[in-house]
Symmetry: C2
Subunit: 367 residues, 2 copies
């Protein structure tokens, strides 16, 4: 049975278009996951992940599963039953973190704000008044369900003043907007590959600070997930002798190696600027068509544009027409915003003025 996928233009919340070099990398013959040549390549992946995350964290690696597993990796390794934590929720993914923390047996204190808003320092302060010494505070840098971009520095200071670890979801911000792990003192961070990195989905870059590693080492109980237990995984990614833990997804690692190379060839700051520039180009055209942004301009993620449609349009029908007639994918809303907004991604290889013009041209025809 053959499957010859239609060539789509991917402008949803991910996956975004992959560079031909990334796709070609996956067609290379397989190697053993303990082959010395493969291990050297993993070292390069680690080094490039550190460079793109702006961190020197020794425990920087790639989880062999998608971003949600990266989220779970950070939380299950740091939380133990009875621990107290604060989880900030301003969309789907903050809610998912709270669900996972609860499954770890932790007492979860939620900071909840309206979807589309950011977490203000005052919101966190209220939570810290009730729970002054949490083990960790988790929040989402770029909320993929709303397109809100969270300022990190003031929050980070408050978290560390409380003696807590700062855990950050950077799935949709990584390689698209400024993200500075060491400067912002982030202790545990996970991302995905299929957003601004423009690799296929399936892996999750993760980094742990020394303080987070220490917390891991001081656990009293076993990590509840064997597959995600970093006390073992780290021996494969960072041990002197690469101890077998599980079989790494060889072809996907080839792909992320190539995608990271492309980011560094372009340069991180240029890449951030490109996302900003194409966002402004898209924004003008969308507003002309009557689309209205969900998130205030000050906290708007440039690479994921969450917009209300002009009055009277059937969003599902229009989205299907874009896909069927133009092969363009945009995303619908999630949760409270299902049926109400679109999420238009301009991420990585999908972040070009050509993409914007294809989308806007099609919309001008269809509306």
């Amino acid at each position: 049975m053959n499957f010859n996928p239609t060539a789509r233009i991917l402008m949803g919340p991910g996956p975004s278009d992959a560079h031909p070099r990334v796709l070609r990398a996956m067609a290379a013959p397989l190697m053993g996951h303990l082959d010395p040549e493969f291990v050297r390549m993993m070292d390069e992946v680690k080094a490039m992940t550190q460079q793109t995350l702006l961190t020197e964290n020794h425990l920087t690696f790639v989880v062999s599963a998608p971003g949600s597993a990266g989220m779970e990796t950070c939380l299950v390794n740091l939380l133990e039953p009875g621990d107290e934590c604060i989880i900030c929720i301003n969309g789907v993914f903050g809610g998912r973190m709270a669900d996972i923390a609860d499954r770890c047996g932790a007492t979860v204190h939620k900071v909840e704000v309206e979807w589309g808003q950011i977490i203000e320092p005052a919101d966190l302060k209220k939570a810290l008044d009730k729970c002054p010494a949490p083990k960790l505070v988790a929040l989402v840098h770029a909320e993929t369900s709303t397109g809100a971009l969270q300022p990190m520095e003031e929050i980070s200071e408050m978290v560390h003043d409380a003696g807590a670890l700062l855990v950050v979801d950077a799935v949709t911000s990584y390689c698209g907007v400024p993200l500075k792990v060491d400067e912002w003192k982030i202790d545990a961070l996970y991302s995905g590959t299929q957003k601004c990195l423009s690799a296929p989905p399936g892996l999750s870059p993760v980094t742990f600070s020394d303080a987070a590693v220490k917390t891991l080492e001081n656990r009293k109980t076993k990590v509840q997930s064997w597959f995600l237990d970093l006390s073992m995984v780290k021996n494969y990614w960072a041990g002197a002798k690469r101890a077998y833990h599980h079989t790494a997804p060889v072809s996907s690692v080839y792909a992320i190696h190539q995608a990271l190379s492309l980011v560094l060839e372009e340069g991180l700051e240029k890449r951030w600027a490109r996302h900003r520039e194409v966002h402004l180009y898209l924004r003008g055209k969308l507003e002309n068509l009557g689309f209205r942004y969900l998130v205030d301009e000050a906290h708007r993620l440039p690479n994921l544009n969450s917009v209300f449609l002009p009055e009277g349009l059937d969003e599902a029908k229009l989205r299907r027409q874009l896909l069927d007639d133009y092969n363009i994918e945009v995303g619908g809303g999630l949760g409270a915003f299902a049926g109400k907004i679109w999420r238009i991604g301009i991420m990585g290889e999908s972040c070009t003025k050509n993409h914007v013009n294809m989308l806007v041209g099609a919309l001008e025809e269809l509306i």
Copy 2:
């Protein structure tokens, strides 16, 4: 930075060589994981997984992570804190199941036999005498660490007579030796893609019987892993409306689709016969060279040949020479057998007389 992997001949415990059609499939452009065209393709993957597992189980799907995550999926969904279970251990992977079951908070009764042996019905009977009504009994069909092939039918009857669910690791048997999920009344089974299926590592085919699904539905507690929680995952793979859970590894699903197609084109029974035939061909040549099998002939896995080397050879040095001078990968021993045995895989695309001749020819030079 480029990575151009050396073309290896993969004859270890996996990954095995992938067919060019499988590699090419991954180079196809990405699609959205909710694209109707991708969803139709997932339906085909599901149908082909059912066909190759010889099951009609409705809940048959592919975990978005390697075999170890498939193992964890089966156990965390079926076990709750306080449950009693019996885990049979005759190698690394039975031990791993016991570790995971323990992390689920279950009381684990171990049946332990010498590595390289199979689990005899009498061994299980002793455990059932001590724990007459376990929630599940888990064992390994093909122990990748030793090359032992476990007979299933009598064990299955005993497990069901005890009212328990039968959980099976079929990572290394799937698509290489007879494996009959419905006929053998297996309730939960996981496999891998990088063995006899000859796809890249990174996914885990899993199937749950109706009884296992009922156990899942009757849980009193949440599944401890969010990422592997089948009460949610099944809505993406089998729900009427494909609800978003996590982003599927699109390119890896392309690959398994193509690999499954190749299995069905060849025919399951012919594929089993091919593994048997090439095994006999290899066996004769290995024994001529002085290699000695670890496992008794009656319970020997044809596709993974665990052998002691002829006296006086440095296994690590010889293995490295094979890799460096001939680009041939064979596997070393795990755990108790590290430094003592080789594991020679003839799986999927690596299961040809040409592969055997390359290996044996190289060994004749090197020894």
